[in-house]
């Protein structure tokens, strides 16, 4: 059931949610859109946040010998591409990593469906901008907020007016796809070539900063290590040399090997293993890459021509 809410209704919705959850929202601070605690709906910015809200689920670093615990948090203003990333990560790590699991089960994401494609974005290649799996999904058109909720959260929408057009999300998705088109994946998992020159070309420029991994809403890899405060896990980057290094050697000794691994994992291995590409077209990796390595090039490259 899709409901049609006014701006005041959105206030009331948030208040209802705030009875059970600590509410965070995307907020503009010094020109950056960041996630902060909010106390009213007017603080919420509908602009794309400067970084993915991944750290609500996977903390940048934490002690894994402590009891995995979570407070109930609601995050409003998340973009569909970020939220879809979390559903993709679920396929691999939900119910395995206790820290991710307890947070995932207790964080309510309220995503805003984009009405314009962000610069460089390509979410339409992955079914965006309207999600099929969501917690509470919002589409803001004109003065109306169209809201649909997953059965787990349907109760928050009780009392609001059902939308007269129950196809509004479907129509928006069609219109968005028509307007912005999509980059066809064309079976990228079969097209990519192991010995393509593309990987060496990327390696010529890449400075191993890890920004692509840190910004990505689908990258979940962590480094587990001991220090004087306990056993920690923290965000890791598969393009770093130490990622696969052992006393016996390194299966990916060159930067080009590791860059290839990142793209193979996203576009081939996850597809074969979980049936989904591990990318949502959010373009954050391109936005944050200091040398403009563009993941879209991996999709559009003509591997046969080489």
């Amino acid at each position: 059931m899709i409901y049609e809410l006014t701006e005041e209704d959105m206030w009331r919705l948030l208040q209802k949610i705030a009875e059970e959850y600590d509410v965070f929202g995307s907020k503009e601070e010094l020109g950056e859109v960041v996630f902060s605690k909010i106390s009213s709906f007017s603080e919420v910015s509908e602009k794309k946040s400067s970084y993915s809200p991944k750290d609500f689920l996977i903390k940048r670093s934490e002690n894994i010998l402590e009891i995995p615990r979570a407070e109930k948090k609601a995050v409003i203003g998340v973009k569909s591409c970020d939220l879809r990333g979390f559903y993709l990560m679920d396929l691999q790590i939900l119910n395995k990593d206790p820290f991710y699991t307890v947070r995932r089960q207790n964080t309510l994401f309220i995503n805003f469906v984009c009405t314009e494609m962000c610069p460089g974005g390509f979410c339409t290649s992955f079914g965006g901008p309207v999600l099929d799996d969501y917690d509470i999904q919002v589409l803001h058109i004109g003065q109306s907020y169209f809201v649909e909720a997953d059965p787990r959260y349907e109760r928050y929408l009780a009392g609001f007016r059902p939308a007269s057009d129950q196809d509004v999300f479907v129509k928006h998705s069609k219109e968005f796809n028509r307007k912005y088109g999509k980059i066809e994946l064309n079976g990228i998992e079969k097209r990519m070539k192991w010995s393509s020159k593309l990987w060496t070309e990327f390696a010529n420029y890449c400075i191993s900063c890890g920004a692509c991994n840190y910004s990505c809403p689908t990258c979940y890899c962590i480094d587990v290590y001991d220090d004087e405060t306990g056993r920690k896990k923290e965000w890791d980057s598969c393009i770093l040399e130490g990622f696969t290094k052992t006393a016996a050697g390194n299966v990916r000794p060159d930067l080009s090997d590791r860059l290839r691994q990142r793209f193979y994992h996203k576009f081939k291995y996850y597809k074969l293993s979980k049936g989904e590409y591990l990318c949502t077209g959010c373009n954050r990796c391109v936005d944050d890459c200091p040398v403009d390595i563009d993941i879209k090039e991996v999709i559009t490259h003509d591997y046969d021509k080489e």
Binding site: Q92, R231, A248, Y269
Partner: protein, 263 residues
């Protein structure tokens, strides 16, 4: 505040026995009963040093045993501090698929032998040792692990051993372990389990196929950098698999087209 059980928490215990096998390899035994089957591994840890994935070297029901080569910070620490409490979590991974196979040729190179010891013990208690042939290749006589057990094994099953380089006292086979493969060609319709350094596995598989073994019946035990053991950290990824979850045992025909398989 909601909490959940923590898979990362190890069970801590001290080994009841410690034995040096070679200069840099040692065996530790715990009083805990082995709850795993041959092929599986545990994450062993020392607080403040780190964690390391180690294959189980004992069969189901026997005292939990590991045989470890001291190459990294954790494995070296345990060797130098024999009195330390060691964290254990597991068992993780899958098992050697020996049940139902006509005959098994298990080929172990170097430090690959511990999970084969587990296999021998599992087959002894739940199966038939006459269905097993073991080929073991060590670098040199002093690098042989399980020197005592091997004497008993030679009597109980078809256990063949070779060294890369001999010494004056060595009377047995000299040559890399692949030199023993022609001698087991008659088992080519059965299964082969291969474990050891990647280059040894690569040449062993080549030799097995040359002598008629089928890729669908050859199984490898792959090793990668592992940090969580539970399919979360991403370090052990090869192709569409995580070695800790879908492995460490892989059927060769499933992975033969992976360029990284023998790295």
């Amino acid at each position: 505040m909601i909490t959940i059980k923590n898979e990362y928490l190890p069970e801590k215990m001290k080994p009841i026995r410690f034995r040096m096998e070679t200069d840099d390899t040692y065996t530790i035994v715990f009083s805990k009963r082995t709850m795993s089957h041959a092929g599986q591994f545990y994450m062993l840890s020392v607080d403040g040093v780190g964690e390391s994935p180690i294959s189980v070297a004992s069969g189901f029901g026997n005292p939990l045993t590991f045989s470890i080569k001291a190459v990294g910070s954790v494995t070296k620490y345990i060797m130098d501090h024999r009195d330390s409490a060691i964290g254990l979590r597991g068992p993780y991974g899958n098992t050697w698929p020996w049940k139902g196979a006509d005959h098994i040729v298990a080929i172990a190179g170097g430090i690959g032998i511990p999970p084969i010891k587990a296999l021998i013990e599992d087959m002894e208690s739940e199966g038939n040792l006459s269905d097993l042939t073991v080929l073991y290749g060590a670098r040199s006589p002093k690098d042989i692990v399980y020197k005592n057990e091997i004497e008993a094994w030679k009597k109980e099953l078809d256990f063949r051993i070779t060294v890369d380089n001999g010494d004056p006292s060595w009377k047995g086979n000299v040559g890399v372990v692949t030199t023993l493969i022609p001698g087991v060609e008659r088992f080519k319709n059965g299964s082969a389990f291969v474990i050891g350094p990647p280059i040894m596995m690569k040449f062993s598989v080549q030799e097995l196929i040359k002598h008629g073994f089928s890729p669908e019946n050859i199984y490898l035990s792959l090793e990668r950098r592992m940090e969580c053991g539970i399919g979360v950290c991403g370090h052990c990824n090869i192709g569409q698999w995580y070695v800790c979850e879908s492995g460490p045992i892989f059927r060769y025909s499933d992975v033969m087209n992976e360029p990284e398989v023998f790295l």
